[in-house]
């Protein structure tokens, strides 16, 4: 924290600070960063700031902490500290600070005069008495706090430390704490003085010395005293107040230099301080133990039962029992909070008695929240609720008592409508954590309306931000549509500072919970329309990835972007998405005269001149794709490309594209053009780059936890099986590029390369051992039955992509092996393994690949396939390689299935039934009745039957809901005619699939393959 200095401050307001949290004491460095040795700027800057201000009003009356309300202005003389009084009785300090009109120069002049005076006093022949010394040291301190450098007086301050007067010592220590420097001579003297005070047995002196150690908290201090303080802490005869100081001082040293604080036999004795009579000692000990237990939970395990019993005594006590420790009718709130915090270092207690007692405590705290308040003062409710929130944190941390979790949720639900903004804010924050617990997720969902209302009515942006976070956390398939709609409508009025985050959240939720991908496309297009400026590249990349990977949504996407582009003003991001999607799938809507190729082109080109260079470059690529898709617009596009504004564009990239595309469109034959501009291959399925971005934005802690929590409940992120094992998806991708290449995975666990490991390596390299099939291999296999291209396998190191084509009984498969790491793969050997049966029926031929695969590189392997006779099994692809000293072995099933050799046959209804009847012997027919595994969507089903290879025959079956198909399986030896019929039953969510072929084994195999698809 930096308090404003004189020039940066806002008018009329003075600022002071109280410090809590080690952070401040270390001049805003993180506590774990132990190497800061510095004075505490916040402390003196505060006073610096204060002394610039001149306004009288009494503080405190506003919140009723003074007995007599109303501003009481004091006379200047009353206010003056005797220590700061000038020598002449004149008010030096008043001269310096109390005249707002006075110039800076005058102030400096006055201060220099005073410094000269003090210097002469210190140098004078006459020995100064303790009081004068104290007075001048104090003045120096004040001058320092005013912002002037002090380069003398340290020795006098150190002398004060050895005084026997309390106030002289105190000023000496204060000076040291604020103005410590690393003068070794001085440090030795200071340490000596501190040692004497620690040994003095005088609790006030010990207290001052310990404070000085804690305030300075430097490494040197830790080195000198870390051994001493634990002894003071556990000695039997130490006074209670010194014990408190010792515990907190030790805590401070542990935070700055943990390695210098030895844990020793005192640990167990510190734990027993939790039983101390003196609640102050217990509080200090709890703070210390909490921090120590985070590092060494084992050593302080016994503190759990002690903490529980202490807590139980506090929560069940009457408000008067603890006397001094009762704060506005709340018994020992600070201690309660600290004990609850300590318990959060541990899992729920194993001992049932302790556990029962703790549950009782937590219930009591929840019950107390329902009682009428004992005081109307805000202090009472704050203290009470502080304990309550900490108890809820503990309940969430344990995540094991459904009853408590639901009660906590209900309590927070009440706070959501509380008139105190603080409480609403904290309730939203805690509820976020509750939403990720499986026990309370449903309970949190019941508050959705309140949270949405908060989003609309809260005046404070950070409260609204919390509401957005909570909506995100409580979102699941059941309420995704509502939540996304609310977030979208909030986005229109949201503060600029949080728009990008909301955009990311909407994009993630829309993708994650999309049942219907048309909804997803609509949502993202809306997102671009409402907040186009905040839609980052990742978001629009992602929508394109998804559209390309999902055949069922491509036509819809093309239609929707086309419609959106008709708006007179549309965001550039929409033009990018539109350009890309129409370039790929514009043909799907070209049949409609309203969106004929020429109309599409003119629409896109009308936006061209308003766009930035990268977008124009993208549009040029779209145009060349149009040349391929729609030969009829070729001349128009060529004209555009040929125009001076393209061919002679000042931008080199645009010019190059225009020249090359124009040339390509002129010289290339249709075949070449079609090959060059072939539809984009599907993107590898992987963790959304948007999620990675959100994680980066929010820091790893919060979102990660949430995501993992969610994954357990709703594993289906992309609406299909995930190709990669969970370990791969939870690795956040450090880069967020379109293809996700270049992600550096963590080094896999394995024996480190060493000379001793050579033998192991030799053995593990032997190729005889074939790994069992990778997890998810069967699922992936099934996905390829109805399609030919895609990603077959992916883990942290390797990605395997497939592209294949089949004609009659022949086929060719391209296997792409991508090295996802930055390290070379060595001895890379993919092997195709066929059982003897399979070998007889399926002939596979391939060449070995290069045994080295560079980091980030991709190698390709071609497999030539011939179907000799019908077959049931599938070949296994085994890949072995060495990665950074470890041996990797992966096996996947290669999706070469009988249906790949299908040749579709169109026939009329009459023919179909005639043949159907011919194949009526029981061996020829196979029937399967099964439950639908996916939503029963007519269009998807049709696409799958076509993908399966057979022709889809329309208007054949008298029942229009049924699907029939026909085709011929080609093998080297024979051709097998196949007929199929699929009857869906929507009510029962069942299918009946019937296959009739001329060969029994073929019927069985095809039926088995196709049944897995619906």
């Amino acid at each position: 924290m930096r308090l404003p200095h004189r020039d940066g401050g806002a008018g009329g307001t003075a600022v002071t600070s109280v410090e809590n949290g080690a952070a401040l004491r270390e001049s805003s460095c993180h506590p774990s960063n132990g190497n800061t040795v510095t004075v505490r700027p916040s402390r003196y800057e505060t006073v610096r700031w204060l002394v610039q201000r001149q306004s009288g009003g009494s503080i405190g009356e506003r919140d009723g902490c003074s007995e007599t309300p109303g501003a009481v202005s004091k006379s200047r003389a009353q206010l003056h500290s005797p220590l700061l009084a000038g020598r002449t009785g004149g008010l030096f300090w008043a001269e310096v600070v109390a005249s707002p009109g006075k110039s800076k120069e005058a102030e400096i002049k006055r201060i220099n005069k005073e410094l000269a005076n003090i210097r002469s006093k210190f140098k004078g022949d006459k020995a100064l008495d303790g009081y004068s010394k104290k007075k001048y040291v104090c003045k120096l301190l004040f001058i320092f706090l005013l912002g002037h450098d002090i380069d003398f007086g340290h020795m006098e301050a150190v002398n004060l430390l050895s005084s026997n007067r309390y106030t002289e010592k105190q000023i000496g220590y204060l000076f040291i704490s604020v103005l410590v420097n690393s003068n070794s001579e001085l440090i030795r003297l200071i340490n000596n003085a501190i040692k004497n005070d620690l040994a003095s047995r005088n609790p006030t002196f010990m207290g001052l010395a310990l404070h000085c150690i804690a305030n300075v908290g430097s490494r040197e201090m830790a080195e000198a005293f870390a051994g001493e303080i634990p002894k003071i802490l556990v000695a039997g005869d130490t006074m209670d107040s010194a014990k408190q100081s010792a515990a907190l001082c030790l805590l401070r040293l542990y935070r700055t230099s943990p390695h210098l604080v030895p844990t020793g036999d005192w640990a167990s004795r510190v734990v027993h301080l939790l039983n101390d009579q003196h609640l102050g000692v217990v509080t200090a000990a709890t703070s210390l133990i909490t921090t120590l237990a985070q590092k060494n939970p084992e050593e302080f395990k016994t503190s759990v039962s002690l903490a529980v019993s202490r807590l139980s005594r506090i929560v069940t006590s009457a408000s008067t029992d603890l006397q001094d420790y009762t704060y506005y009718f709340v018994p020992a709130p600070w201690l309660s909070v600290k004990l609850l915090r300590l318990l959060q270092c541990y899992p729920p207690p194993e001992d049932p008695a302790v556990r029962g007692r703790l549950t009782e405590c937590l219930e009591t705290i929840l019950n107390k929240a329902q009682e009428p308040p004992k005081s109307k003062k805000v202090q009472h409710s704050n203290a009470k609720n502080a304990v309550l929130f900490e108890a809820i944190s503990l309940i969430i941390h344990h995540d094991s008592e459904p009853n408590l979790l639901v009660r906590a949720c209900n309590q927070l639900g009440q706070f959501l409508q509380h008139r105190e903004t603080n409480l609403r804010y904290l309730a939203l924050e805690s509820m976020c954590a509750l939403a990720s617990s499986e026990f309370s997720h449903e309970a949190v969902k019941t508050h959705i309306e309140t949270v949405i209302a908060a989003l609309k009515t809260e005046r404070d942006v950070s409260v609204r931000q919390r509401a957005v976070d909570l909506l995100y956390a409580m979102c699941d398939r059941s309420n995704a549509q509502q939540i996304v709609a609310e977030m979208l409508s909030y986005l229109e009025t949201a503060d600029y500072s949080i728009r990008e985050e909301i955009v990311l959240k909407v994009a993630i939720l829309a993708e994650k919970y999309a049942v219907d991908y048309t909804w997803y496309v609509d949502t993202i297009l809306n997102l671009i329309r409402i907040a186009g400026d905040y839609v980052s590249e990742e978001v629009w990349y992602r929508v394109i990835q998804i559209v390309i990977n999902r055949d069922d949504v491509q036509g819809y996407a093309a239609k929707t972007v086309f419609e959106s582009l008709q708006a007179p003003a549309c965001h550039e991001n929409l033009v990018k998405v539109g350009g890309y999607i129409l370039g790929e799938f514009g043909n799907l809507i070209a049949g409609d005269p309203r969106s004929s190729p020429l109309v599409q082109f003119n629409l896109l080109h009308s936006k061209f001149h308003l766009c930035s260079v990268p977008t124009r470059a993208l549009l040029l690529s779209t145009y060349i794709k149009f040349v391929n898709l729609f030969p009829e617009v070729k001349p128009t596009i060529q004209d555009v490309l040929r125009s001076d504004s393209q061919l002679r564009n000042a931008d080199a990239e645009l010019q190059q594209r225009a020249v090359e595309y124009l040339r390509l469109s002129t010289v290339a034959s249709t075949d070449i053009l079609a090959t060059v501009l072939e539809e984009m291959p599907p993107f590898p399925e992987r963790e959304s780059s948007i999620l990675a971005k959100l994680k980066k934005k929010k820091g790893p802690g919060t979102v990660m936890g949430l995501e993992e929590g969610k994954r357990e409940r709703g594993p289906d992120i992309n609406g299909g099986p995930e190709p990669a094992p969970a370990s791969a998806t939870s690795t956040p991708s450090p880069s967020a590029d379109l293809l996700g290449l270049g992600a550096v995975p963590p080094a896999p666990a394995g024996p480190p390369p060493s000379s001793g490991g050579l033998l192991v390596d030799v053995f593990s390299d032997s190729p005889s051992a074939v790994a069992p099939l990778a997890p998810g291999s069967e699922d992936n296999f099934a996905r390829f039955v109805c399609k030919n291209n895609g990603v077959l396998f992916e883990n942290q190191l390797l990605q395997i992509g497939l592209k294949s084509e089949f004609r009659q009984n022949l086929g060719r498969m391209f296997i792409f092996y991508g090295n996802k790491t930055s390290t070379q793969f060595l001895n890379f050997t993919p092997t195709l393994i066929c059982s003897d049966d399979l070998q007889a029926n399926l002939s596979l031929q391939t060449k070995p690949v290069d045994p080295t695969v560079d980091g980030g590189a991709q190698v390709q392997q071609v497999v030539n396939i011939e179907c000799v006779s019908d077959f049931t099994e599938a070949p296994v692809l085994n890949i072995q390689f060495r990665y950074g000293g470890t041996f990797q072995n992966v096996s996947v099933k290669l999706p070469i299935t009988l249906n790949k050799f299908f040749q579709p046959t169109e026939m009329a209804s009459q023919d179909f039934f005639q043949r159907w009847k011919q194949l009526s012997s029981p061996q020829q027919e196979v029937q399967n009745i099964f439950k639908a595994k996916h939503p029963m969507d007519t269009e998807i089903t049709k696409a799958k039957i076509i993908g399966f290879g057979s022709a889809l025959l329309e208007e054949v079956d008298p029942n229009p809901a049924n699907f029939v198909g026909a085709g011929i399986i080609h093998t080297r030896t024979t051709q097998i005619g196949c007929l199929l019929r699929l009857e869906p039953n929507l009510q029962a969510q069942m299918y009946r699939l019937t296959l009739r072929t001329s060969k029994e084994t073929v019927s069985q195999r095809l039926c088995a393959l196709l049944s897995e698809q619906f």
Partner: protein, 119 residues
């Protein structure tokens, strides 16, 4: 700080600042701020500030900012008695007062002497 000043009284009193939180409270025209880590309890910190103001109030008798300016060392002593290494040491008013009294007792004869000497 500017954010805190911009906050209206009805708004809440926690600000997120880097990975820390600033808890603040306004007394008349003085803002008391306190930086805590994410895990710390916000409401309790608010009361910590309040308790400190109460202590100042007891010590100075209706404290005002000039008291804190001119007796900055006392402000520090009270803070030191109250907090140590960022953790609360004495939540009890009386105990802190006692330490405070110790200082007063020690000091008052001297200042009387000083005044007499000057007079």
């Amino acid at each position: 700080m500017q954010v805190a000043l911009a906050h209206k009284p009805k708004m809440h009193s926690f600000l997120e600042w880097r990975d820390l939180k600033v808890v603040y409270k306004r007394y008349a025209n003085l803002y008391f701020c306190c930086t805590i880590e994410g895990q710390d309890n916000e409401l309790m910190t608010l009361e910590l500030i309040h308790r400190y103001v109460e202590l100042l109030d007891k010590s100075f008798g209706n404290v005002c900012e000039l008291d804190i300016i001119f007796n900055f060392e006392k402000g520090y002593f009270i803070l030191d008695e109250f907090l140590m290494g960022g953790d609360i040491k004495k939540s009890v008013l009386r105990a802190t007062e006692q330490a405070d009294l110790l200082q007063e007792e020690d000091e008052s004869p001297c200042s009387v002497l000083e005044e007499m000497g000057l007079a």
